[in-house]
Structures are given as C-alpha cells and as structure tokens.
C-alpha cells in the first residue's frame, strides 16, 4: 500500500478528513522518527510490515516546519511513543493537540460601541517590550536633563567658546579656531589661494602673475621688498593706511602707493602669524628666495630651525 491508500484507510478508520489525518501523521512521524506510512498503518489497523516494505523509509516527513511545531511541545519521547501510538485501543482521534499558548494571556473582552459600530477590546495588558520602553524612555530623558542641565559645555556637540569682546567663535582654550602650528609655508599657501578672505590670489593671480594687483612672480616681490619686515608691514596696512601712516611711496624702488591698484588692510582679517605665513609663501614661491633664509627673515631664527 502506498501513502495515499494508507491515508484513505486511516481516515476511514478514524472518520476524520484526509487532510487532517495526513498532516497529523507526518507530524507524528517527524516527532517519533518513524516513516509516516508506519503511523498511518497503525491508525488504519493494517499490518505494519507490509506498509513499511512498500514505503521508502527515507521519505522526508514533508511539511515539518508547518506541522511539527504544534506537536513538538506535546510530543512524547521515543520510549513512550509505543504506548501513545495505539489508536485502536483508545480510539482517540489523532488530531494534533491544541497548541498551548507560550504565555497565557487573558483573552481581552470584546465589546461593540453601538453608534459607530466599532469593535473594541477591554484589553488591560501591554506587550512587555512596549511597557518596558515606556519606562526606559522617560528615564533616559530625565538622565539627559540631569546630565546636561546647564547646557552644552564647550566641545559638546561641536559647540565652541565665544570671545566675550568680539563675539567670534573660538577654540575651547580661547585660541583662534583652527589655528595650527606646523609648517608656516603650507599655511601661507593655503591662505594665499583660498577664494574667500584673504583672497590674495584673486588680485595677484594663482601663480603670482598679477591681475588687478601687481604681479609677484619672477622675483619682483623680493625686488620691491628686500626685507621681509617691510613686506609684512605693507600687507598689514594696505594702501590706504600706508599712505596715512608711512608715505606716498613704498618699496625699494619707491613705487607710488595706489599705482598698482587698491590693496585692503589685513590687520583685522588675519593674525600676525598668518600674515607672516602668507608673506613667507610669496617670497619663497614667487620671489625665489631660499626657504630657510626667508623663514629666518620673516619668522625669526627659532622658527627657521623648527621649519628646517
């Protein structure tokens, strides 16, 4: 007898639908480790040996995932199986036992609100994860309030200190934001070429070739300012203040102030170190000065050694 014949026989013997009997048999077989045909044969009261011989023992207990779960909880151990699988003796219908609730929950009382015709439940419990989060969230919030009651400290969440006089944001230790020691030549190069303030390149050209302002390349900047200190003074003051504070000409060749255009004062926009760095960059890159010599000239001996 093959599976379908056994199934028909078993379902007739038990007077239960074939679908249910088949599913139960597979589940029982999966739980007890015998072939489903064996189980069906037991239930149908047929000779077990005949059934086992005709059925390939290796046939998989097919929809195990679907049916095994409800039975597993109630499935007896293999030793006890012999006693339990005796449908002829007890005439017990082989329905899988009702699945026990994992966590017995009170069945919510259902009611109908008359006017809108809406069903509602009188449920009093919450899922545990939700109840737990309702407790945790306020605790986190209160913890936050207690920890940060006074607002952000400097450095928290990107917060900076603010200079009390100028109102400008600055590093937490009060130094100018982003000021970096290190290589003054690199700082000068960065400052020279930014498009925003000080925007040296917008007038003097990216390569120092000049534009609105005079060219710096080819050594001309060093010819105009043989001494670095004069160059620094010029950048610090700009044309207007130079005329007021120094005179109508500038540089070694006594060029007229304003002859090459208007240059703004960088006194306020840049720190003295930054001005020195830009000047250094211009003298080395465009003026062709030796880097160590120019560094000593513009920044002093100590800096030159550090830079070298």
């Amino acid at each position: 007898m093959d599976f379908s014949e056994l199934l028909a026989a078993a379902s007739q013997a038990l007077s239960a639908p074939e679908v249910l009997v088949g599913r139960s048999a597979r589940a029982r077989a999966a739980a007890s480790g015998v072939a489903p045909e064996q189980v069906l044969a037991d239930w149908a009261g047929v000779e077990a040996g005949a059934a086992a011989a005709s059925a390939p023992a290796a046939e998989a207990p097919a929809p195990a995932s679907e049916a095994a779960a409800p039975v597993t909880a109630a499935a007896p151990t293999p030793e006890l199986d012999v006693e339990v699988v005796s449908p002829q003796a007890t005439d017990e219908p082989p329905q899988p036992e009702p699945e026990p609730e994992p966590e017995p929950e009170e069945e919510p009382e259902e009611a109908l609100i008359g006017a809108p015709g809406l069903k509602v439940t009188r449920r009093r419990s919450l899922p545990r994860w939700l109840a737990a989060s309702f407790v945790v969230v306020p605790i986190v919030a209160l913890f936050y309030a207690a920890t940060f009651a006074s607002g952000p400290g400097c450095g928290d969440g990107g917060a900076l200190a603010v200079d009390a006089v100028t109102g400008v944001a600055e590093n937490c230790d009060g130094s100018e934001f982003g000021s970096r020691g290190g290589n003054p030549l690199a700082l000068g190069a960065a400052l020279y070429s930014v498009e925003a303030l000080p925007a040296c390149s917008s007038c003097h050209g990216n390569d120092g070739g000049g534009g609105t302002g005079p060219g710096l390349a080819g050594g001309s900047v060093v010819e105009t300012f043989p001494a670095c200190v004069d160059h620094i003074q010029w950048v610090t003051l700009g044309t207007a203040r130079w005329r007021e504070e120094v005179g109508d000409t500038y540089g070694a060749s006594n060029k007229p102030v304003g002859g090459g255009g208007i240059m703004q004062s960088y006194d306020a926009g840049l720190s003295p170190e930054e001005i020195a760095a830009v000047v250094l960059f211009e003298r080395v890159t465009f003026g062709g000065q030796d880097a160590a010599e120019a560094t000593a000239d513009c920044l002093g001996e100590g800096e030159a050694e550090a830079a070298g």
Binding site: P108, E110, A111, L112, I113, G114, A115, P116, G117, L118, K119, V120, T121, R122, R123, R124, L126, P127, L130, S133, F134, V137, P138, V140, A141, L142, Y144, A145, F148, A149, S150, G151, P152, D156, G157, G158, A159, L160, A161, V162, T166, G167, V168, A169, F177, G178, A190, L191, V194, E195, A196, L197, A199, Q264
Partner: protein, 649 residues
C-alpha cells in the same frame, strides 16, 4: 477590500434618531474646498522644486520662489489638511457620539471663514504681504478671519462631543476635540505677535510645532484609530494604549517648539527642556504605531486601499522621531540644522502622515482605487530621503570647511559646500512630479465624486464601565488639552521671555538693527554714525528689510551665527541682545543660500552696488547661484534691499 461592516452591523430598523445626511454633505463640501487648495498647493510645490534647479522658470513677482513658498505651505497646511480634516471630523463625529452636529449653521459659516481667511492670506502673501514668520505669514486681517473660523469649528466640535448620546466615546473623539483646541490656540499664539526679538522667534516656533505636531498629527491619529478597526472589522489592539498615546502626544510634542533653535539665541535651559521632551516623543509614536500595527490583519491589509494609506501615513509618523531628535540633540543638530533636513518636518507631517491619513478616509468614502495615489508615499519618501541625505552631506561639508581652511561657508566659498547638492535638487523635482500627479488625481477624484458612501448611525451602547477611556467626559478632555498647552506655553515661551526681558540691546542692535527707529526716521546718534560711515540711509535700510520680508528671502537665508564648528568664519555669534530690536528677527531655518548675519562685513556683499547687481542678475557673478533674479523689483526696492543687506554688520 472595504468591508460593508457598517451596513451589516446596524439593522435598518434601528434607524437613527437624526439624519447624518446634512453633516455628511457638509463634510463633502469641506473635502471639495480642501481639494482645490490641494491642487494649488501641489502646483506651487512642483514649481518650487523646479525653480531650485532652474531658477528662471516662471520667476516673476507673485511666482518667485520666496512668494510661492508661503503659498505652498499655507495652502497645503491650512487649505488642504486643515479644512480636509475638519471635514473628516464632521463626518466621523456624529457617528462616534451618536448625536448630530451641534449648530450646523455655525459649522457652515466657519467653513466660509476658514477657507476665506486662508484664501485672503495666501493672496496677500503672494502679492507681497508676507509678515516674515514662517507658517504664520498671513497679514492680521486674514489671521483674524481664520481665527474666528477656527474658533467656530472648535465650538461646534466641542459641543457635539459634550452632547454625546453614545456613552462609550471612542478614543478618536479625544483626539479631535484636543487637536482643534491646540490648533486654535497655536494659531493665535503664532499669528499675533505678543513678543519681541528672540522671544518672538521662540513663540513662532512653539506655534509652528503646535499646528504641525498638535493639530495635523492628533487629528490624523483620530482618523487612523477609526479606520483601522472599521475597515478590518476587528477591534483596535487596545483602546487603553490609544489613550496612552493621546496623553503622550499632549505631554511631549507641546514642549519641543525650540527644537529648531538649537545653538540659537534662546536660553540653554530651554534647549535642554526641548531635548528632554524630544526624547519623550518616542512614547506617543511607539504607542500609536504599535497599536495600529498590532490591530491589523495583514491578510486584509494589502487588499484594502484605505488601510494601506493608513499604514503609509503611520510609517511617516514613525519617521518623525528621527526628524525631531536629529534637530534637537546638539551633536546631530550641529550637522543637520540649517540644512535641507529642516525642510523634511513639513514633508513628513503634512505631505506624509497628515495627507495620507486624510486621503485614507476619503478613499474609504469615495471608494477610489489606489491608482496614482500609490505615487504619494513614494514621492514623499523620495523627498524625505533627498532632504535627509542632502542635509547630512551639506552639514558635514559645512563643518569641514573651516577645519580645512580650503574654503569657507559664505560668498564664493559657498558653492564648494553645496556643489554636491545639485543632484538632490534633481531628486526633489522628480519626487514632486510624482507627488503633484498623485495629489492632483486625488483632488479630481474628490471634486468629481457623485456617489459618496455613507453609513447609518447605530443605537448607542449600554453604559460603559467608568474606568474605561470611553467613559471619560469630553469636557474634561478639552479642559485638559488646553491646560497642557498652557503649561507648555508658560514653561517654554513665557518664562524664557521674562527671563530675557531685562537685557539691554547690544551695540550691534542699537546701531544697525533698530528698525522701528529707522522706519520712523528717528535713528539714534550711534546708528547715524555707523550707518553713515557705511554710506547707508537708515530709512532705506528699514524699507529694504520690508522687501526682504515680502520677497521671502528668509526661506533660503539664515541670519544666525552659532557657536559651533560649522559657523566658524561667519563672524560674531548671534546672541539674544543682537536681535531684541528686530521683530521678526528673520533668523531663518534653512541655508539654501549663505548666511547673511554679517553679509555687510564681507568683501563684495559689503558693497551696495555689487549687491544690487547680484540681486538683479545672480548668475552674472556666481554662475552656480540658485537664487532667483529680482529684476522684477523696482530700482528703488532693489537699492533698499541692497542697503539692508550691507547694513547687516
């Protein structure tokens, strides 16, 4: 599959003691009016998105970006969602309370006032009457009409709830009654300028949160809590949990007003309060989302258009946690604040959650098929994605600019920090094509629907046990909701205002930002000296500020420098004392263009002629600029606007 449970549950023999036909037709009129605003708002939103990529499209006077922006937000929020939700409430309330709408005549009159006030306000704003406070741009006469209308609606709804015949009041009634009180009070606080300077800014943001999080969200939740059990013919998972979500909405959202002011001129302790309650926003969101999801039979859900729309709206509601916390926490705020992230709040609440919940009910009543409405969640999600990812990218680039010193976050350097955002602008208009198609289709369905579904009202239930949420009297809900908002107002607006009232204006405020004195031609001697030195005329500066407000410059430019890494290089940090004489302070929320707090102190933007030229032809100087050309302004207005920009020292 929309079940016909309504018809089945109630035998025709138990005919109601009143006729819902009149209130149902009133609800339909509301939906039709709302649909008109929906179409207008969708077209405005689409044009805005196109103009971001192509600034010259349709750019002239009433159709310029800064005027379309309030037309878009106003018609979407007040025209479409507000009037639509009022219609939804008029449809649902007689069924939920078992009694007719109390005073239908007042309800009709209120519709005329709400729609008329909104229309009046929108027309005024488009023709230059903007008042400079985001979401509350309408001039006072439109505000008053709108407020009277909203008060009428609130009265009708509260009285109908109080006169209930059904003893077991479903939780949606709480949401509707409270939401209308919150809308009314928030609109009063937002539109009537009781405050000055930074206090006005704080009050504006309190009111903004009020109309978005305490009106659209709870009214929409009320609809969702009705639709899910109704359409699936299964009870809501837990009415008690819904009651928890109600009190949690009231107890958390009202306090997060200042979440867009982090690092701003408000007091530090106010920021901390905001963050604490922004964390607490998790509770109403989790309670509501869990309740709706646990109620839904998923085998039914995917076959029913209204249920799918409710679920889509609920998904956007869940996103709100990320949105609010991202702006509230100081560390994340230092990245996303002032980026397009900020714009996502409106999309999530109004275009996402609010519209989808409302359309779910409308789909139930019109029997419309999903059709192009499928585009709506897709479009909103694409929009939120573009705003979030674009915002994060912009924020990190801005923060890296001062660190690297290779470029700065203003002037010509601004392009370096926004260059990669052009792609997101493209996503925005594509998303808007989807949204506009979906919304316009919904609008057409509403206007052309001739066969609205209806359901009779059943016999009221027997008495309900007194410890059930349904037995809580609506009058107490109304009082409690007003009290909660009142306490939030006192703690997060009034006390901060009193706290800062004894502070003197800063030198910056007295010299360059004393606009009332400038307008009255009575500037202080310091102001004359400082402005004169800059070559500016005080009266023109004040006039230019009016142009700045009416042209909606505030929608793209901030005037606020924060004490954080991102803003290094933008000049002195903006403190309360700087803006105490400027009402509104025009701090702004988004930097689609550079910050202008100290525009006048910089090269180029410190020169009146250059600014005038830049305003009339932005791409002549900066090819990358997405600013609309203002050559439609008169030469006098342009000059005044340029003087104002240069006066920002």
């Amino acid at each position: 599959m929309t079940t016909d449970a309504e018809a089945v549950d109630v035998a025709v023999a138990e005919a109601p003691a009143f006729d819902v036909g009149t209130s149902d037709s009133l609800a339909q009129i509301h939906f039709r009016v709302a649909a008109v605003f929906l179409v207008v708002g969708s077209l405005a939103g689409l044009f805005l998105a196109i103009q971001l990529s192509a600034p010259n499209v349709l750019n002239s006077g009433p159709l310029s970006y800064g005027r379309l922006q309030p037309l878009f937000t106003g018609s979407m929020l007040f025209g479409w969602v507000t009037i639509g939700m009022i219609g939804a409430i008029y449809y649902l309330l007689p069924r939920l309370t078992g009694g007719p709408l109390v005073d239908e005549r007042l309800a009709r009159l209120s519709l005329i006032l709400v729609a008329g006030g909104t229309l009046l306000g929108l027309v005024s704003v488009v023709f230059g009457g903007n008042q400079g406070l985001p979401l509350f741009e309408f001039p006072f006469y439109a505000d008053i009409v709108l407020i009277v209308g909203l008060a009428g609606v609130t009265r009708v709804v509260t009285r109908t709830a109080i006169a209930h015949r059904e003893p077991d009041l479903y939780i949606s009634v709480w949401f509707f009654v409270a939401a209308l009180w919150w809308l009314l009070l928030s609109y009063v606080i937002g539109s009537l300028s009781f405050f000055q300077g930074s206090d006005l800014e704080v009050a504006n943001r309190f009111a903004e949160v009020g109309v978005l999080f305490l009106w659209v969200v709870p009214a929409g939740l009320g609809i969702a809590y009705y639709l899910v059990p109704k359409l699936t013919d299964a009870p809501l998972y837990s009415v008690r949990l819904a009651a928890v979500s109600f009190w949690a909405v009231a107890g958390s959202f009202a306090w997060v007003g200042a979440h867009t002011l982090t690092f701003g001129p408000a007091a530090d302790w106010l920021e901390t309060i905001t963050i604490v309650f922004a964390i607490a926003v998790l509770i109403p969101v989790m309670a509501a989302v869990a309740n709706l999801l646990l109620s839904i039979d998923w085998t039914v859900a995917h076959t029913s258009t209204p249920v799918r729309l409710v679920l889509a709206g609920t998904a956007f509601f869940a996103l709100l946690v990320v949105q609010v916390l991202g702006l509230a926490f100081r560390s994340s705020s230092s990245v996303v604040q002032f980026t397009t992230w900020t714009e996502a709040t409106f999309v999530i609440v109004v275009l996402g959650a609010g519209s989808l919940w409302l359309i779910a009910l409308i789909a139930h009543l019109t029997g419309m098929s999903a059709g192009p409405a499928r585009l709506l969640p897709l479009g909103s999600a694409a929009l939120v994605g573009a705003l979030w990812v674009g915002g994060l990218l912009a924020g990190f680039t801005w923060a890296s600019a001062p660190r690297s010193r290779e470029f700065l976050n203003f002037g010509d350097g601004f392009v370096n920090t926004t260059a990669e955002l052009a792609g997101f602008d493209t996503v925005r208009w594509i998303a808007w094509v989807l949204l506009a198609a979906g919304f316009i289709w919904v609008g057409v369905v509403i206007v052309t629907c001739r066969n609205w579904r209806t359901s009779p009202v059943g016999e009221p239930s027997a008495a309900v046990p007194s410890d059930e949420p349904g037995a809580f009297p609506p009058v107490k809900v109304a009082v409690a909701s007003v009290l909660v908002l009142g306490v939030a107002f006192v703690t997060t607006v009034l006390i901060p205002a009193l706290d800062s009232s004894d502070e003197d204006p800063s030198f910056r405020a007295l010299t360059t930002r004393d606009y009332e004195a400038f307008a009255d031609d009575a500037p202080s001697p310091q102001a004359i000296a400082v402005l004169g030195d800059l070559g500016l005329t005080p009266a023109l500066v004040a006039e230019g500020r009016e142009v700045y407000i009416s042209e909606g410059c505030v929608y793209c430019h901030t005037q606020q420098v924060r004490a954080n890494v991102t803003d290094v290089g933008l000049g002195p940090v903006t403190v309360r004392q700087d803006i105490t004489l400027s009402s509104p302070a025009l701090l702004g929320r988004v930097r689609l263009g550079p910050d202008l707090a100290h525009a006048g102190s910089r090269p180029l933007t410190g020169d009146v002629d250059w600014v005038t030229r830049h305003l009339s032809d932005p791409r002549a100087n900066r090819s990358w600029s997405s600013m609309p050309s203002y050559d439609y302004l008169s030469q006098g207005e342009l000059d005044a606007l340029a003087q104002y920009v240069v006066s920002l020292q």
